[in-house]
């Protein structure tokens, strides 16, 4: 029994430590890729290529609101290179300014979620959220 207990504790420790040491670059890439995927159906609605549906809109906004809680912590000083990161070094020169952009995205997404009920309110409120994406990409994302 004690053998199992030790093994269990060890496994828990390994699992715990590997979660804590999950690569921040991979982690933030996964979240930001999730942002993009969640945005696709909404962008199609904005372009008039798909009919309005509330569920994907709210899902996208929830994805942003959830992601911005984690993202500021996923740019530690030792995550400037590797994994084909598109994060520009400028991020670490002005980290507080960078973090504020996530905060703004969270605030604007929450406000948009409360205001969007149909296509007209989607068009009136969602682009502001996309503008937050753009502001950050313009300054801090490597361009092709």
């Amino acid at each position: 029994m004690s053998k199992f207990y030790v093994a269990g504790v060890l496994m828990a420790l390994i699992a715990g430590s590997s979660a804590a040491h999950a690569d921040p670059i991979e982690e933030r890439q996964k979240i930001l890729k999730g942002f993009g995927d969640a945005t696709k159906p909404v962008a199609a609605m904005l372009k008039g290529d798909a009919p309005f549906e509330i569920a994907p809109v709210q899902a996208a906004l929830d994805t942003y609101m959830d992601g911005v809680k984690k993202l500021p912590g996923l740019f530690p000083d030792d995550s400037k290179t590797g994994h084909k990161t598109e994060a520009l070094p400028k991020i670490w020169d002005e980290k507080p300014k960078f973090d504020v952009l996530y905060e703004k995205l969270g605030t604007d997404a929450a406000a948009a979620k409360g205001n969007i009920t149909d296509l007209a309110s989607l068009k009136a409120n969602f682009p502001k959220v996309l503008g937050d994406c753009k502001a950050c990409h313009d300054d801090y994302r490597e361009k092709k």
Binding site: A43, P127, K128, L130, G131, H137, K144
Partner: protein
């Protein structure tokens, strides 16, 4: 209608020192273009939430460029390409005279300035056309009306050169502004004032003695043709400019 200056003869003596150099359409074009180039930057930097703003700004620039090309053939004498575009020999001899500080007054663009105008028109026209095909990297935020008509690689290429194009335009504009300020400081030629008032001090101009003005109706026709050409081309190529 009696022109205002005929009612105020005391101004005639002052007016007689000046000759007309630039017509109103050319000056309107010039300053509207300056405004729209500045707003192009502003609408990209601060208009992320209103993608149509940057796009409409680009269409307006394209309309102005097409208008200026037409005006370069049908417009007043100083606006015509034929009047201010000189070959390499003409440009070099003008530059040589400039270096020797020999003043060669031009009523219109001088041979160096003429080519600057062509470079600015070409750079801004190209930038506008690239914008029609460009989009953000994820195709989610802003997309030119013709991006959907070409391959993804072409869109990425257009976006890449649309970004570089901005740097080129800033360089050209900086040279253009610096040259005019230097001319005005060194030669007291009043180039910048002339582009606002339309008038230059009387002098022995070597390109043309006086302005031959084209009619306002011609200007209006050129403008209508430019609007039709820009929006017609976008629609014919399969795009919806305002979607």
């Amino acid at each position: 209608m009696v022109p205002e200056k005929d009612l105020r003869p005391e101004r005639d003596s002052e007016d007689s020192h000046f000759v007309k150099a630039w017509d109103l359409p050319t000056r309107l074009f010039k300053w509207l273009l300056v405004l729209l180039v500045v707003l192009a930057w502003v609408s990209n930097k601060y208009g992320g939430a209103v993608p149509l703003w940057h796009k409409a700004n680009g269409y307006a620039i394209l309309v102005l460029i097409v208008f200026r090309i037409l005006w370069g053939f049908a417009g007043s004498s100083t606006a015509r390409f034929g009047a201010f575009l000189k070959g390499p020999r003409g440009v070099l001899s003008y530059a040589a005279a400039l270096i020797k500080q020999k003043r060669q007054p031009y009523l219109g663009h001088n041979p160096l300035g003429g080519w600057m105008i062509i470079m600015l028109l070409a750079a801004l026209g190209l930038q506008g056309v690239l914008g029609l095909y460009a989009a953000d990297e994820d195709r989610l935020i802003i997309e030119g009306p013709l991006a959907k008509t070409v391959s993804e690689a072409a869109v990425d290429g257009a976006a890449h050169f649309h970004r570089l194009g901005f740097d080129l335009i800033v360089c050209l504009a900086a040279i253009h502004i610096a040259a005019n300020v230097l001319y005005d400081l060194a030669g007291k030629s009043g180039l910048i004032r002339a582009m606002i008032s339309g008038r230059k001090l009387k002098a022995a101009y070597i390109d043309q003695p006086s302005l031959v003005t084209a009619g306002r109706g011609t200007a209006l026709l050129c403008f209508i043709a430019a609007v039709t050409a820009v929006f017609g081309a976008i629609v014919l190529l399969g795009g919806n400019p305002f979607k």
